[in-house]
C-alpha cells in the first residue's frame, strides 16, 4: 500500500491571536524547527497523525497583512505566494482569527483567500466574545466568505478534532466568494500579466502592484526587467482614477470585509474590559513605572538568587566527575582530554542552562500575560532618545541571558536600521556567561577577608552589570547618529488582552531559547574547550624530552606533592597557549595583567565560558586543598583589585563569543557586521579595561 503524501498546513494569523497555542495543542511536544523551501529562516514544524493521514503543520510568524513590514511578516507572504518555490506552497491554509476583533483579523484572511489555496478559518477567543455579548453566527460567516469556519479553544482542546477533520476534507473545499475589484485594476493586472511568464497567477501580479518594492514585485521583475516600468505606469494610471496605492488596497478590502460581516456578529456590551482597568494602573506614569521597575528587579534577582546557586551546584558536579575520571581511568592524554577538555566543555555549556532557563521563563511569562507590550510602551520614550524604539527592549532584555536568542528575536522589528542597531549592541548586555568571571574575581579580589567592606563585592558586581546595560543604549545612539543614520523608527504596537500565561506555551518558549543556546553556542563552547585543552597540554615533554605528566605522577606517588605542583605550573607555562600568552603579555601589561590572565583572556575569545576552566588550569595551587579563588589570591603575584577590575571590564565589553558573531552574520546576511561588532567591542574592551586599571590602581593601589 503506497503511503499517501502528507498534507501540509500553514497556520497564519495576526500576532497575539493564539496561533502558537493552537500549534502547541495540535503538536504537543513533537515540534522542531527546520528549513522550509523558499524561506531563509527556520520554521517551526510538527507532524501529527489524524485518522491515518499524516498532517505536517507549519507555525508561521504573526502578520497583519501580506504587505510585509518586518522580516518576520515576510515569511507568511513568501510561503503563501509561493515565492521562489511555487510547488512548496502548503496544501491548506488555516487562518487563525480572534473572534473579539473580527474586522482587523479578517484583513489578512481576505488577502489569503485570493491566493488560490484552500483556507479554513479557525476562530479563537469565541468564549470571550460570547461573554461580552458578541455572538458570532459561524454559518453566516462561512457563507459570506466562502470557506469553512471552525471555532476552537486550544487550551481546553475543544474544536481540535473538528479542525483536523476539515483539514482532511480540504479537497472538497467550497470556493471563496471573490472580491470585485475595480475594472481599471483588472485591466492593469491583465496588461502586466502579459509581460510575465505564462502561468503567473493574477494574485501574484496584484500583489506586485499593491506592494511597491515588495517581494512579489521583485520576483516578477527578475524574470522581466520591463515589468518594473510597467508597474510604475500601472500605479500611476490607477492613481489617476482615484485608486491610489498602497492605501487603496486596504480601503477597498476593509469596505468589502464590512459588507461581508454585516450581521454576522453582535456588538459587544460596552467598550471597557478588565484589560483596560489593569492598564489604567500598569501604564500609569507613576504606578506603572514603579510596577515596571519592580518587575525588572524581580527578573534580575531571579538570576542571583535562583540561578547562581544552581550554577555553583552544576559546577561542582562536573568537577567531581572530572576528578573521578582522572582518578579512575588509566593515565594518559586521552583521560586528561576527557576530564579537562570534554567534561569541562560540556559542563561549561550546561552550567549556564539554569540561568538561561530561569531568565527565559520569566520573560516568557511576562510576554504571555501581555505585559511585555506594556513594558515596550513604557520604555519607548527613553529608547527613542537612543534612536531605537520600544520594540528593541525585549531583544535586549533577552540578551541578558544569552545574546543568541536575543538577536534572533529582533526579527519582529520592522525598521531595518533599528533592527541592525539592536543586533549590534545586544552583545554588550551582560550575558550569563560573564557572571562566573564576575563572581570569581569579586571573590578573589574584593572579599571581606581581604580587608574590604562587606558590601563592596555586591557593588562591584552590580556595577559590572550596569556597565553593559548603560553602554548598550549609548552605543545604539552613537550608531544611529553615525553609521546607521536614518529617520527615527516607527512605534506602532498592539497592546494585547491580558491573560493568564499558558504553561505549555511558556515551556515551549523556554525550550526554544535553551535549545538555541545549547545547539548553537554549545557546540562552539565544547570545541573551544577541547582546543584550549590541547593548547595547554602540548607540548607535553620538557626540554630534556621527559614527559611532564609522567614526571608529575612519579612525584605524586613519591609524596612530593609540592614539587609536582611546581612542575605542573612549569608545564602550563611552556605549553602552546602559555608561550603565546607570555609573548602577548606586553600587549596586556597596560591593563595590569600577567601572562596567565593574558592567556585566559585570549583563550576566551571563541567562547568566554572557557575562562574559569582555563584559569583553573593555569594557576598553580600552592596547597593541595586550595580552590581557584584561593589560588588567585595566594600565588607569588596575587590578583590585585585593580587587575581584577580591569579583567572584569574587559570581559564585560568584549565580544568573546563566536556563536554570537555567527548569528549576527546570519541575521544580517553579511560578514561585515560580525567583523564590525568584534572590532568595536574589542577596542571598547581594551580602552575600558585600561581605564578600569588606572581607576583601580588609584583607589586600591
Amino acid at each position: 500500500m503506497t503511503a499517501e503524501k502528507p498534507i501540509t498546513i500553514a497556520l497564519v494569523g495576526n500576532p497575539n491571536v493564539g496561533k502558537t497555542t493552537l500549534f502547541n495543542a495540535l503538536s504537543g511536544l513533537r515540534q522542531h524547527t527546520a528549513n522550509y523551501p523558499g524561506v531563509t529562516v527556520e520554521i517551526k514544524k510538527a507532524s501529527v497523525n489524524h485518522k491515518g493521514r499524516q498532517i505536517d503543520l507549519l507555525d508561521l510568524p504573526g502578520a497583519y497583512s501580506l504587505a510585509a513590514r518586518s522580516p518576520d511578516e515576510l515569511i507568511p507572504t513568501q510561503i503563501l505566494l509561493g515565492l521562489h518555490c511555487v510547488e512548496c506552497r502548503p496544501d491548506v491554509v488555516v487562518a487563525v482569527v480572534d473572534a473579539t476583533n473580527l474586522e482587523r483579523n479578517l484583513y489578512l484572511v481576505h488577502q489569503a483567500l485570493e491566493v488560490n489555496l484552500p483556507l479554513i478559518l479557525c476562530l479563537t477567543m469565541v468564549d470571550m466574545a460570547e461573554a461580552s455579548g458578541a455572538h458570532i453566527r459561524l454559518d453566516l460567516l462561512s457563507e459570506r466568505l466562502g470557506c469553512q469556519v471552525v471555532a476552537v479553544q486550544p487550551v481546553k482542546g475543544k474544536g481540535i478534532e473538528q479542525l483536523l477533520d476539515k483539514v482532511l476534507e480540504f479537497q472538497e473545499k467550497p470556493l471563496p466568494v471573490p472580491m470585485v475589484w475595480p475594472e481599471e485594476l483588472i485591466t492593469e493586472t491583465k496588461r502586466i500579466s502579459g509581460l510575465c511568464k505564462t502561468g503567473t497567477p493574477d494574485f501574484m501580479v496584484r500583489r506586485a502592484l499593491f506592494d511597491k518594492d515588495g517581494e512579489a514585485a521583485k520576483d516578477l521583475i527578475m524574470e522581466n526587467r520591463a515589468i518594473a516600468d510597467a508597474l510604475i505606469l500601472a500605479r500611476k494610471n490607477l492613481a489617476d482614477i482615484g485608486f491610489v496605492l498602497p492605501q487603496a488596497e486596504s480601503i477597498h478590502r476593509y469596505a468589502d470585509i464590512r459588507v461581508r460581516i454585516s450581521g454576522v456578529q453582535n456588538s459587544p456590551k460596552g467598550n471597557r474590559n478588565w484589560t483596560d482597568r489593569l492598564d489604567a494602573w500598569l501604564t500609569h506614569p507613576v504606578a506603572g513605572t514603579l510596577f515596571f521597575l519592580l518587575a525588572m528587579f524581580l527578573v534580575f534577582e531571579s538570576v542571583f538568587w535562583l540561578a547562581a546557586p544552581a550554577m555553583e551546584w552544576m559546577s561542582s558536579v562536573h568537577e567531581i566527575l572530572a576528578d573521578w575520571i582522572l582518578a579512575t581511568l588509566p593515565q594518559g592524554p586521552f583521560t586528561d582530554l576527557l576530564a579537562n577538555g570534554i567534561v569541562q566543555g560540556v559542563g561549561g555549556v550546561l552550567v549556564f542552562l539554569p540561568q538561561i532557563c530561569i531568565l527565559f521563563t520569566m520573560l516568557a511569562i511576562l510576554e504571555d500575560t501581555g505585559y511585555m507590550a506594556r513594558a515596550a510602551f513604557l520604555v519607548d520614550n527613553l529608547m527613542s532618545r537612543c534612536g531605537l524604539s520600544g520594540k528593541s527592549f525585549i531583544p535586549l532584555l533577552s540578551s541578558l541571558a544569552c545574546a543568541v536568542p536575543g538577536i534572533l528575536s529582533t526579527r519582529v522589528i520592522e525598521d531595518r536600521r533599528d533592527r541592525l542597531a539592536t543586533i549590534l549592541v545586544a552583545p554588550l548586555m551582560s550575558c550569563s556567561a560573564r557572571l562566573p568571571v564576575y563572581t570569581l574575581v569579586v571573590a578573589a579580589c574584593f572579599a571581606p577577608t581581604l580587608g574590604h567592606s562587606p558590601w563592596l563585592g555586591g557593588v562591584v558586581l552590580f556595577a559590572m552589570y550596569m556597565l553593559g546595560l548603560i553602554l548598550a543604549p549609548l552605543a545604539a545612539l552613537l550608531l544611529k547618529k553615525t553609521l546607521l543614520r536614518g529617520p527615527t523608527p516607527l512605534f506602532v504596537l498592539e497592546l494585547p488582552r491580558y491573560q493568564i500565561p499558558n504553561w505549555k506555551s511558556v515551556l515551549h518558549k523556554v525550550m526554544d531559547a535553551a535549545w538555541s543556546f545549547v545547539g548553537r553556542a554549545g557546540s562552539t563552547i565544547l570545541a573551544a574547550m577541547v582546543l584550549i585543552w590541547a593548547m595547554l597540554y602540548f607540548p607535553s615533554t620538557d626540554e630534556n624530552g621527559k614527559s611532564y605528566p609522567k614526571e608529575i605522577r612519579e612525584l605524586r606517588e613519591a609524596e612530593k606533592g609540592e614539587e609536582a605542583l611546581v612542575l605542573q605550573a612549569k608545564w602550563r607555562e611552556n605549553s602552546f597557549l602559555g608561550t603565546t600568552g607570555k609573548a602577548m603579555e606586553p600587549i596586556f601589561r597596560p591593563l595590569g595583567w600577567d601572562w596567565r590572565l593574558s592567556v585566559a583572556a585570549i583563550a576566551s575569545f571563541p567562547a568566554r565560558e572557557v575562562v574559569v576552566g582555563t584559569l583553573a588550569q593555569l594557576y598553580a595551587q600552592e596547597k593541595e586543598e586550595e580552590n581557584l579563588v584561593q589560588a588567585l589570591q595566594g600565588t607569588d603575584s596575587p590578583l590585585t583589585p585593580a587587575s581584577g577590575l580591569s579583567l572584569m571590564v574587559f570581559f564585560a565589553l568584549c565580544c568573546q563569543c563566536v556563536s554570537t558573531l555567527v548569528v549576527i552574520g546570519r541575521e544580517t546576511k553579511s560578514w561585515l557586521w560580525p567583523l564590525f561588532t568584534f572590532t568595536y567591542m574589542t577596542t571598547l574592551a581594551y580602552a575600558g579595561a585600561w581605564i578600569a586599571f588606572q581607576l583601580g590602581t588609584w583607589i586600591w593601589g
Binding site: R104, D276, H284, F377, D380, V492
Partner: protein, 84 residues
C-alpha cells in the same frame, strides 16, 4: 444641547475622548501600516491614556488597543462632536 462636528488630530485628543477617523495624512510606510490595521474613515477611536512623559499614547481602535507615538498620531485626522 447641540453637538457640532469639529476636527482635530489624534494627538490633540483628550483622555477619555472618543472620535472617528477622517483620514490619515500621507502615503508613506506609516500611513500604509495604519491603514492595514484598519484605521480608516469612520472607525471609532478613543484615547485611553498616555505613557510617562506623555508619549506614546494608548488608544482604543474599534475593539482593540494600540500604542502610538504622538508624532505619528498627529498624522491621523479625526472628526468629533463637541458641545457648543
Amino acid at each position: 444641547m447641540q453637538a457640532f462636528p469639529s476636527f482635530c488630530s489624534l494627538d490633540q485628543l483628550l483622555p477619555g475622548e472618543t472620535a472617528w477617523v477622517h483620514h490619515v495624512d500621507g502615503t508613506d510606510d506609516l500611513s500604509q501600516r495604519l491603514c492595514d490595521l484598519g484605521l480608516q474613515q469612520g472607525v471609532e477611536v478613543e484615547l485611553l491614556g498616555k505613557a510617562p512623559w506623555g508619549d506614546p499614547i494608548r488608544l482604543r481602535v474599534g475593539n482593540w488597543r494600540l500604542g502610538l507615538r504622538r508624532r505619528e498620531a498627529a498624522r491621523i485626522l479625526l472628526q468629533k462632536f463637541s458641545p457648543r
